[in-house]
């Protein structure tokens, strides 16, 4: 089976979803490269309890100042792991069980060098996802999460401070297999953090170049304006 290396950037994840995320990843990846962006809690200690985590630590946090540089470093560490395939995932994202069953077939297939999934943003709780406006997971397209490592491709990153992507630009242009399996994103599941996230988003993108103001504002919408659907676990034949 081709080697699958997961890569992720973490910061202060100890009280959030890191443990569940790593528990899930160890089931279907061979190696997990983690770049800790100067956590102030015991995030690194949690990572080190997993034997196939390769942890790299930064003393000073740079995610908000220069995300591209941080992503590029993570890519560099991941390349050194000699991967055949690379999965870029966040510590609050979970590939559903049906998707985990697909992984061996996706790694062995020859047609595609990239695999994409739809991302479902859980809202207010972990078993409901948001469907209004740009939150609708069905209508905003697929995102590439997994790529075959192709050393001949450039590893250049756009020099953006924000929303600079998970993979080098060349990988994002690969024809990709769109999987029906879903990624469950729990980053918005606890609305206590949403005000801070909203403020951070506008601080980083004051001119609303990356997302519309309306979309940013929708983070703070009252519950009656938000449309939710229940997350139902899928099974195949």
């Amino acid at each position: 089976m081709p080697k699958l290396t997961a890569m992720m950037i973490v910061r202060n994840e100890a009280e959030r979803y890191l443990q569940g995320c790593l528990d899930s990843l160890v089931k279907y990846t061979d190696s997990i490269v983690v770049l800790d962006d100067a956590s102030e809690d015991n995030t690194p200690e949690i990572c080190l309890t997993y034997h196939n985590v390769k942890l790299f630590r930064h003393r000073e946090s740079t995610f908000l100042d220069n995300e591209a540089q941080l992503r590029h470093k993570l890519w560099h560490y991941t390349q050194n792991d000699r991967p055949e395939w690379i999965l870029a995932i966040d510590a609050d994202e979970f590939l559903e069980e049906e998707g985990i069953k697909e992984i061996p077939y996706l790694l062995k297939q020859k047609h595609f060098n990239a695999v994409s999934f739809r991302l479902f943003d859980c809202w207010e709780r972990e078993d409901y996802y948001r469907t209004d406006g740009l939150w609708n997971p069905w209508l905003r397209g697929f995102s590439i999460y997994m790529v075959r490592y192709l050393p001949q491709l450039s590893s250049a990153w756009p020099s953006l401070k924000f929303h600079c992507g998970r993979f080098p630009v060349a990988y994002r242009q690969l024809p990709h297999y769109e999987s029906s399996s879903r990624i469950k994103h729990l980053g918005w599941a606890n609305t206590v953090y949403n005000r801070a996230k909203y403020e951070r988003a506008l601080l980083q993108d004051p001119a609303c170049q990356y997302m519309s103001k309306e979309h940013y504002d929708s983070i703070l919408w009252p519950p009656e304006k938000v449309k939710l659907e229940k997350w139902i676990e899928r099974s195949s034949i």
Partner: protein, 371 residues
Amino acid sequence: MSKKVALLTTNFFHPKGDRIIMGGAERYQVDLCRLLRDLGYIVEVWQIGDNWTKEFDGIKIRGLPVSKTEYNTFPELNMAFYENSMSFDYALYFILSLAYPLAREKSIGISHGVYWDWPGFDVANGKQENRQEWLRRMSIALTGPQKLVSVDTNTINYFNATLPGLYHKWEYIPNYVDTELFHPPEETNSANDKIRILFPRRMVPVRGVNETMRAAEILTEKYPQLEFHFCGRGHDDTVEMLMSQWADKHERCYYYWKPFEMMPEIYQQADIVLVPSRSTEGTSLAALEAMSCGKPVIVGYAGGLSNLVLQDYNGYLIKPTVENLVASIEELLHDPNKRKVMGQRGREIALSFDKKKWLANWATVLSAVFR
């Protein structure tokens, strides 16, 4: 020096070049390009697109910035291809109408089945003068290439009755299945009392999806052991959303799609496979794969499905109404022995559609034209 083959199609990639959905036609194209490469040809593909160049499975794919359609033909694409592919020795027109108005001298046209039996075609081209103009253009498209390859006899019969002078150009090369990859399961599901019905098609009306969804609603309510699995892409994102929402609301109804490499296992787990096409059909890869996995099939009598299924022998050949689907599924549901016997016969038939024969048939036609 290797000879060069240019293949013209419309939409292997989405015209914007950013999306590809691997259906039956796309798989056929990939397999044909692989054969050409194995035979020593250099192959490139041309399609509608904004001057981009992509690569897929080691084959260059070029976008030509022309998208105008007239009477279901693509004259601008045809001519842009003709002028741009001058350095190529041979050409393949992946859809018959693409050879209108001017075909390369050493070229082959391919039919994947009749598509003008779709009601929407009549809506667009139903007027007598439009129909005549379409047929006039088709007669030109079919005259240019040296050979015409059809995946079913239905297309050939239609043209023999309509444009009989082309009789000797036609070659019947039915679709194919890798019978080693798609094989019956080692063990049957007899220990499990669940009956799994599989609809392994695109979620589009011509494939009978709406009739099948209604049949699923009726049958799952009546039989607690029944499961319906809808396995295939929608026509667009909204269809996939609606299918998922529908499946979530209906007990024992499931919607998903799977990578090609997983499909043998999916077929092996099924008890009955549905290919209830209303129109726009050839010799369906899905039907062949199901048969090759030893499954009874219930199919519409559209296109070339009657080349694959003998009524009451390896399945049922029906007009795919809700009532007919329900009745034929119930018949197989109540008769496990019939399911088994039909599945065994289906496997036997599938062996005569083995991919090796398809490759050999194509190699013969290529050697007759590309010389």
